[in-house]
């Protein structure tokens, strides 16, 4: 049957199981939006800025495992997506971005709202397309979804000129995909699996470092099997949090710059790292040449380019985490690492996590812990980037799989609110808590309007310290307390919320923390809590940039502060 390019696009989206799209329209994508009226099964959520459309699509994708879809018009609409696309790229999130483009005869003429978005997004997408003919729309969409969700997932952008949206072609979704350049390796090589099993058998101080790949691959059970059978403690990366139950006896926290002290010390002391679906990011490893000095490394990852990129690997296994672990678990033998576990218990006792100091002021750590206690951990937590993010990761115990949605690789402030929106759409039956900082919240708070329009019951908790807190912490520690451009004048967030008809409370006393969280929970819709927290509270533990994990500080240390660190990210 002959259809317009727009109709073919909508039909194709439906074939891919898409039922929701986040976006904003404009001149070059008007025909597609006009066509949406014929497809009520695709719900369109109008955001207030395109960046939010991309983050919302990512939030949706991360809670559902299905690609999230966002639409934007050409020019500024498309460029506004860029931060969200880059965020999805670095955190391996399947997002399909559809952008309108000026009609074909105007391309290359610097027409109104024309921009080379495929050129701009080339290094931040897994792949991108400009569709030059309606007859290629179906095939392109099919390829785009296949590429976005398979292998190491990532964002794919499809740019469609306005006239292609209007012209007609035959719609046929049975087109075969021919992608000779795209063959992700799914199964781990058997001989590598055997080598890995042998190393695991020989190790006396093994640790597992579980990353986002475990969550993406839905390999919770396989990871648990491996850990339990071999009595190997599981440490996660920041994005690996909630890949393994936080209160499991073998859970040993998470590593990295603000990871738990005992986790970092365990990695430093171990003799074998079983790295699963993680990429040895600099925030996780800290100084690479001081990273786990006595450890051999088994690295399981679906992306061959990650193997050996940052850390030397003894046994690389390229493949899908779930598949690889399933097979690996057949080769491994049951063992006890009781001496090692005992040693770790001692480390843990010396470096306890979750210590909240007594204070008259509201400490953000206390707020996070109280949110955890009030929800019983039965919630999806979405955070932005900065101190509040680290406290959320440290003081909330994640037992349920895939319940922490946070911006890791790109570190995008302002991710929290739109991503929470997407998470709430993807998990309508779940409590979604958006934990925000006062700085990041102001970067995307226009989305309160979307939340109200769509009646999304997101609970927003702002850790308001009146600073760009993480940067202020660095200024305090490494730049002589010269607080250049970090003090923030904040609006009255309660009044802001009220302007959007969102109920809100200012919380200024410690004794009001619990009752206010309770009120937010009992309210059926969106609720905003503005916690006025201790303005100069710092995030500890901290591995200072340029230090190794073993040099983790649980309180400030002068000599560490004075190191030159101009060459550290």
């Amino acid at each position: 049957m002959k259809m317009t390019g727009s109709q073919i696009l909508c039909e194709s989206l439906i074939k891919e199981g898409v039922d929701v799209v986040f976006g904003i329209l404009g001149g070059s994508i008007l025909p597609l939006y006009d066509t949406l009226t014929q497809y009520p099964q695709i719900k369109h959520i109008l955001v207030r800025h395109e960046q939010a459309a991309a983050h919302a699509a990512a939030g949706y994708a991360r809670v559902t495992g299905k690609p999230g879809v966002c639409f934007a018009t050409s020019g500024p609409g498309a460029t506004n997506l860029v931060t969200g696309i880059a965020d999805a790229y670095l955190d391996s999130t399947p997002v399909i971005a559809v952008t309108g483009q000026v009609p074909r005869p105007f391309i290359g003429k610097d027409a109104f709202q024309e921009i080379d978005i495929t050129g701009i997004t080339l290094p931040i997408t897994k792949h991108n397309y400009m569709v030059n003919d309606p007859k290629y729309v179906a095939q392109t969409v099919k390829e785009a979804f296949y590429i976005a969700r398979t292998g190491r997932p990532g964002p794919v952008l499809i740019d469609i000129p306005k006239d292609v949206q209007v012209e007609t072609a035959e719609f046929d979704y049975s087109v075969k995909l021919v992608l000779p350049g795209y063959k992700p390796t799914i199964q781990g090589h058997p001989s590598q699996l055997k080598k890995a099993a042998r190393l695991i058998g020989e190790a006396s101080k093994p640790v597992i470092i579980a990353g986002h790949g475990v969550i993406i691959s839905d390999a919770y059970d396989e990871l648990k099997d491996l850990a339990e059978k071999t009595q190997t403690p599981v440490i996660t990366t920041l994005l690996g949090i909630s890949s393994f139950p936080g209160s499991h006896i073998l859970s040993y926290g998470w590593l990295g710059m603000h990871g738990l002290a005992h986790s970092n010390l365990a990695v430093d002391a171990c003799d074998l790292i079983i790295a699963i679906g993680m990429r040895f990011d600099d925030r996780a490893t800290s100084r690479v040449n001081g990273f786990a000095p006595n450890a051999r490394v088994i690295h399981i990852d679906i992306d061959p380019a990650e193997i050996g990129k940052n850390v030397k690997v003894d046994v690389p296994i390229v493949g899908d985490v779930k598949n690889v672990l399933k097979e690996l678990n057949k080769y491994i033998e049951v063992k006890q690492n009781s001496d090692w576990l005992k040693q770790l218990e001692e480390i843990k006792a010396k470096h306890p996590a979750l210590v909240i100091s007594e204070s008259e002021k509201i400490l953000p750590q206390y707020v996070i812990r109280k949110i955890y206690e009030a929800t019983g951990g039965d919630a999806t937590v979405v955070t932005g980037v900065g101190q509040h993010q680290m406290w959320a990761a440290q003081y909330y115990t994640f037992d349920r799989p895939n319940t922490l949605i946070t911006s890791g690789g790109l570190g995008t402030m302002g991710f929290e609110l739109p991503a929470a929106m997407g998470a709430a759409v993807g998990r309508p039956d779940d409590a979604v808590w958006c934990i925000a900082g006062d700085g990041g919240f102001q970067m995307t708070m226009q989305e309160l309007a979307t939340i109200v329009q769509e009646k999304l019951p997101v609970k927003i908790a702002i850790m308001n310290n009146g600073y760009l807190g993480m940067v202020r912490q660095w200024q305090e520690l490494f730049y002589g307390k010269r607080y250049m451009a970090t003090p923030l004048g904040c609006p009255d967030f309660v009044k802001i919320a009220e302007a959007y008809s969102i109920p809100a409370i200012n919380v200024t006393r410690r004794e009001d923390v619990e009752p206010s969280i309770q009120r937010a929970l009992e309210h059926p819709g969106c609720f905003l809590l503005n916690f006025v927290v201790d303005p100069e509270e710092n995030v500890y533990p901290m591995v200072p940039p340029g230090a190794s994990l073993a040099e983790v500080m649980e309180a400030p240390r002068k000599e560490v502060m004075s190191w030159p660190r101009k060459n550290t990210p």
Partner: protein, 165 residues
């Protein structure tokens, strides 16, 4: 880290934007390509690219893997340490007059290169060969004054029965 010249051969899908994708990756890693040559391969809709680049083994291996991740790039091989034939073609327009012309022709003959154009003030030489041959001829002709040079960039193939890639 010690660097050396690497010869990378890639098979890529013949469609717009592929070269942008390749060069973008090299740019990101701060590599300057010494030469890049492109042409059809033995397969339909697949082009063959030969890139010569300077870098350490680790750096070049990382670029190779990143290139191979690209959906439009089918396969990438580093053939640096294999027994290969590499060739480049150059056109060199060299100053010539009645006193220098015969000397130039003699040099060109020694190199089994060809004179492809003769004009009152110049000779145009076509030379094909590996890096040493082209560079040496260039140096010898430089004495007479080079008006213009155009080079194709290197193409490479491994010796023996098997295909390079």
């Amino acid at each position: 880290m010690a660097t050396q010249k690497h010869t990378i051969v890639a098979l890529v899908i013949d469609k717009p934007g592929v070269f942008n994708r390749i060069s973008s990756l090299f740019r990101r890693r701060g590599f300057n390509m010494d030469s890049i040559a492109v042409g059809h391969s033995e397969k339909q809709n697949i082009s063959r690219v030969t890139i010569v680049v300077d870098g350490s083994n680790v750096q070049v291996e990382q670029v190779r893997k990143q290139l191979e991740k690209n959906v439009d790039i089918v396969k990438v091989t580093d053939i640096t340490n294999r027994d290969t034939i590499t060739r480049e073609l150059a056109l060199i327009k060299v100053h010539a007059n009645s006193t220098t012309r015969s000397e130039i022709i003699q040099i060109v003959d020694i190199f089994r290169a060809k004179i492809v154009d003769v004009a009152p003030g110049s000779l145009t030489v076509e030379v094909t060969g590996d890096q040493a041959k082209v560079e040496t001829l260039y140096k010898l002709l430089k004495v007479f004054g080079i008006k213009e040079i155009a080079r194709t960039g290197y193409i490479a193939m491994t010796r023996g029965d098997n295909a390079s890639i």
